[in-house]
Structure formats: structure tokens, C-alpha cells
Amino acid sequence: MDWVNAVVQGVLLGGFYALLATGLSLMFGVMRLVNLAQGDLTILAAFLSLSLIEATGVGPFVSLAVVVPLMMVGGYALQRGLLNRTLDQGVMPPILVTFGLAVVLQNVLLSLYSADSQGIDAGSAEGASIAITNQLSIGVLPLATLVIAVVIIVGLQAMLGRTQLGRSLRATADDREAALLTGIDHRHVYAVATAIAMGTVAIAGVLLGIRTTFGPFDGPVRLIFAFEAVVIGGLGSLWGTLVGGIILGVSLTIGNQINPAYQVLAGHVVFLIVLAFRPNGLFARKGREA
């Protein structure tokens, strides 16, 4: 029964990783930009929520009402003001700038908050769980996280497939100049994509803060998980990212069953195996290779 439990917990964990990875996947899909600051932005969101909670006493889910718009506006400004400038100069500048951004964020958070690990208190929601059988119970929060991840991905797919905004994102990703001729301002469109990505990052960050302790330097680890989920699932596919996240989550929980010390390593190993045999991931879209 331990193994079944491990798998179930892994699927739930996978929902969280998928949420972490959604922003990364979206930004790459629209503008082929790999945001190396993704993990640190998630931690930033957690800290913003924490500060808001400590200042106003609201609950973490209420804090989302402020943190999400804040991060979205920040994301729009970041893309429009800085990242757009890196997109025409080849592959390297976006990597270097987002890497620099990651370092700056980590140290800004360090100076503002100290190196101590913090946590967001979600009260009774944290420990609550639903008992399925005698040996298997599902945490309310992990379940909610998975549900939120699925809802967000469904929503994003719908937006991409059915709205004019979504069409403009896909068109710009296809052919920026032709999109210009249709009246689409790619600078704006890219910034909207980043804003949406930052919205998901905000949600992921707050949930992260609730489920685990976090410190200023915990970003990179999240970036690596997000990245692995995206690559396993296949670039350019949001559903692939969900599946990739779940595969990753299950790898970790099963790895934990085998040997807790190697839990994280299990995830890396699975990633490397997928990379060796299916380098384009499991659901890669054509033309969106790594």
C-alpha cells in the first residue's frame, strides 16, 4: 500500500510542479525565452504574500488578490522594459539577463528578509486531509494545488485556442513580422504573455509558501524542477507540462520510498533518462524542439 500511496502523493506533488512550470512553458512557447529567474520570482511571490500577511493580517488566499495583480503588472513591465530588448540579439542575452536577474533577486530578498527560512501559515487548511481508505489519505492542500494547476492549464489552453488574445500570442510566436502586418504589436503581446506567466508564478509562490519553508536562495531548485517538468512533458505543450510535472512528482515520491536521501536525485535521474531516449519530451509540438 505504501507504493500506491507514494504514487498518489506523487501525482499531487506533480500538480505543484506543473504549476511552477506553467509560466516557464508559456514564456518559452510564445517568445522562446527561457526565464532563468522563474524560481526566484516564485520565491519573491511567497515573500510578498508573507509581508502582506504580516502587515495586514489577511489570510494567504486573500493575499493572492494583491500578489497576483502585482506580479502581473511587474511581469508586464519587466518584459516591456527589459526582456524585450534582449530578444533580437540572439540566444545568449535573454539567458544572461534572466540569470543576472535571478542573482539580483536572491540578494535583494536576502537583504530585505535575512537568510532565515520562513513559512506562510494557512491555519487549519494546512494539515487537513481527506481519508480515502484506512491507509490512504489525501491532503486538502495538495489536492487543491493539483486542481488549481489543472484549472489554470485548461484556462490557458482555452484562452490560447479560442480568444483573439490567444490567437495573437500564437500568431506572434509563429511569425512576428507577419503579426505586425496584421496590426499586432509584439512588444505588447510578449509583455502580456509574461504578465500571465507571472500570474501563475504568483499563485505557485503563495502555495509554495504554505506547503514548505522558503528562503531567499530557494529559487534555483524550483527553477530546475520547473524546467525538468517542461522538458519531460515536451516543449510548447501545456498539457505536456502537466504530465511532465506529474511524472516528476511520482519519481520523487517513489525515490523517497527507496531512499529518502536520494529523493531529489530520483527526479534528476528520470529527467536524464527521458532526455536520453526522448529528447523532445513526451508531447513536443512540431517546430518546438529544445
Binding site: 525565452l33 532563468l36 545568449m92 542575452p93 544572461l96 542573482v103 530546475i224 536525485l265 532526455l275 529544445a290
Partner: protein, 351 residues
């Protein structure tokens, strides 16, 4: 030779690499290295320490410059080889009883072998994903080492052989090794850039598809650089920890190493040899003057790197040479056409 035949034959040409400037610079550099080599005789221990740090950092920056500037491979996982170099060196001297200098060489070469294996995974990715992939690989090594009791697990190990040496001897040896690694990295980089491999990589950098169609084996060219960079970083790692004596997995495999390499190369200038040299000097100066400011120093460094990438992507050296073209290292190839003498000309060829 008839007039038609003479006109139809190709003009003779030579390919020159050095310039007067570069020859002067080369002479100066050799003199400088000679002087620096004597430092253990008259410098103090503090100076030696700083220079060891300088030369090893310079070597790592040259390696990153080769990777990113020449092979177009942006790696944020070079710390894998620094850590492997450190631990490999420890195993070689403390467990296998090798003398120091051969241990460094063997370790570096062995890490090249490891790089051959990791390339099988890393090279399946491109661009930003390659970058993170190299980081994942470094993390794998970190975790494995952190959980290996024989290597001290999370607490780390001390290089006993080095501790037992006479401090002055150890310092001098470390310094000379650092000087060799630092100067060696420049020599290796120059050698590569002047070779056919360097020419092939420049072609790939300009237009990979065109280069491939001309028969350039892109994969092997990039792999060669990846291996060289691994060997170089491993050698640097061994020397760094010969000085530090104590190896801890989180520090040895920390991404900070790569962050420093990146900042140095961006600030100094990508793709040329002079860039990392200037970058290391600037980085060191910044480090000394901002050392007291802790995280503020890294924030400033990060902001400077971002600004330079956006505003002056060529770095300091690149921007300077845009206005006043210079090359201190004779890398650029120039085509020099020999004059063709018409037949009947007393100075020309007979026949």
C-alpha cells in the same frame, strides 16, 4: 608563360595572424609571466593568495568564454567540473598517494572523460534549456557526493597531504600551479582560436547551417570545446582547493563559480581572449572594494551584468575595440595578396 595563362593563374596569397601590436604584446606577456613566476621569492603570503585566486578565476573565465563565445554554449553548470576537480584531486593525493602536480593533471584529464559522458545528455538540449541542463548535471554530482561517506558526505573533506606540507612550500607550489593554469588557459584559448577548430567554430557561430553544408562537423567542434572547458575548470578546481584545503560539496559544486565566470566574461567582453583578462581585473577590483557590503555587492554585480548585456553586449574590450581596433593576441586572420608580375617583367617569374 603566355599573357593569358599568367592572367588566369591565381594570385599567390599568405594568411597572416600576428600584427606588430600582437608581437609586442606577446613579448610583454612573456616578460610579465617570467616576473610573476619569481614572486614566491619576494612576495608575501597575502599577495600569493590573491594571485592564486586571480589566476584560477581567469582560467575559469577563459573556459567559459570558449564555451559561450566560440561554441555558443551557455553553460551554468561548469561548477560540476570545479567540484569534480577538487574531489578528484583529493582522491588522487590523499587516497592514491600521487604527488601534487601529476595529481592535478590526472584529475583534469579524468574530468574530461566525465565530460564526455555528460555531453551525451547535455547536447540533446539547446539554448536556455542547455544552460539549465548543465546545471542539473552539476546538481546530480553535488547530491551524489553529498551522500557519499567516503568523500565526507555533507561535511566535506580536508586535503591532509596538503595540510602536512610546509606552508611556504605549499604556497609556492600552489602559486606556480595557479600561474600555469591561468597562463595556460590563455595559451590554450589562443591556440584553439588560431586553429582550424577555431575557424570552424567561428563559421558555426555566424551561420550553423552554412557551416554544416561546408562539411564542418558541428557536433564534434562543440564537443571539443566542451571537453577542453571541463578539463580547464577541473584543473582550476584542483588548484583552488589546494589553496583552500577544505572541500565542501555545496561550496565546491555551487553555482556561484559559474556566476563569477559569467559576470567576468560579460563585463570584459565575449569571444576574445583579452575580454576575460580585463573582466577578471575589473571583477577583482569590484570584489575588493565592495567586499564589506555582502549581498549588495552581488546585487551591483548582477545589475552591471544585466546593463552591459543590454547596452554594450560586447563588454568592455568589445566596445573599446569598436572605436580603436586592437588585438593584443594575434588571432585575426588577414589575407595578404602577393603581387602578380606580368610575363616579361624582369622581376617576375620566368616561363
Amino acid at each position: 608563360m603566355s599573357a593569358i595563362a599568367a592572367a588566369a593563374s591565381d594570385p599567390a596569397f599568405r594568411v597572416l595572424r600576428g600584427t606588430r601590436q600582437s608581437r609586442i604584446a606577446l613579448g610583454g606577456a612573456i616578460a610579465l609571466v617570467a616576473i610573476l613566476a619569481t614572486l614566491p621569492g619576494w612576495g608575501d603570503s597575502g599577495q600569493l593568495k590573491v594571485l592564486v585566486e586571480f589566476f584560477t578565476l581567469l582560467a575559469m573565465a577563459q573556459m567559459w568564454n570558449l564555451l559561450a563565445g566560440y561554441a555558443g554554449l551557455v553553460s551554468i553548470g561548469q561548477q560540476a567540473f570545479i567540484g569534480l576537480g577538487a574531489y578528484g584531486f583529493f582522491v588522487a593525493v590523499d587516497r592514491l598517494g600521487m604527488p601534487i602536480v601529476p595529481a592535478v593533471v590526472v584529475t583534469a584529464v579524468a574530468c574530461g572523460g566525465v565530460a564526455l559522458v555528460t555531453s551525451l545528455f547535455a547536447f540533446r538540449l539547446r539554448g536556455g534549456y542547455f544552460a539549465i541542463g548543465t546545471w542539473v548535471i552539476a546538481e546530480v554530482f553535488r547530491i551524489v557526493v553529498s551522500n557519499t561517506r567516503e568523500l565526507g558526505a555533507g561535511t566535506g573533506v580536508t586535503i591532509q597531504t596538503a595540510v602536512r606540507m610546509v606552508p611556504a612550500d605549499r604556497q609556492a607550489l600552489t602559486y606556480w600551479l595557479a600561474l600555469t593554469v591561468g597562463a595556460g588557459s590563455i595559451v590554450v584559448a589562443a591556440f584553439i582560436m588560431r586553429s582550424r577548430l577555431g575557424l570552424a567554430l567561428q563559421a558555426v557561430r555566424d551561420n550553423e547551417v552554412a557551416a554544416r553544408s561546408l562539411g564542418v562537423d558541428v557536433y564534434r567542434a562543440k564537443l571539443a570545446i566542451y571537453l577542453v572547458a571541463a578539463v580547464g575548470c577541473a584543473a582550476a578546481g584542483a588548484v583552488i582547493y589546494l589553496q583552500l584545503l577544505r572541500i565542501q560539496p555545496n561550496a565546491a559544486f555551487g553555482v556561484d563559480w559559474t556566476a563569477k565566470m559569467i559576470f567576468i566574461v560579460i563585463i570584459g567582453g565575449l569571444g576574445r581572449i583579452e575580454g576575460p583578462v580585463i573582466g577578471t581585473i575589473v571583477f577583482f577590483t569590484l570584489q575588493e572594494s565592495l567586499a564589506d557590503y555582502g549581498s549588495l555587492y552581488l546585487i551591483i554585480l548582477g545589475l552591471v551584468a544585466i546593463t552591459i548585456t543590454v547596452v554594450a553586449p560586447q563588454g568592455i574590450w568589445g566596445t573599446v575595440t569598436r572605436y580603436r581596433p586592437m588585438a593584443l593576441f594575434g588571432i585575426q586572420r588577414r589575407l595578404v595578396l602577393e603581387p602578380v608580375h606580368p610575363p616579361g617583367d624582369p622581376h617576375g617569374d620566368d616561363g
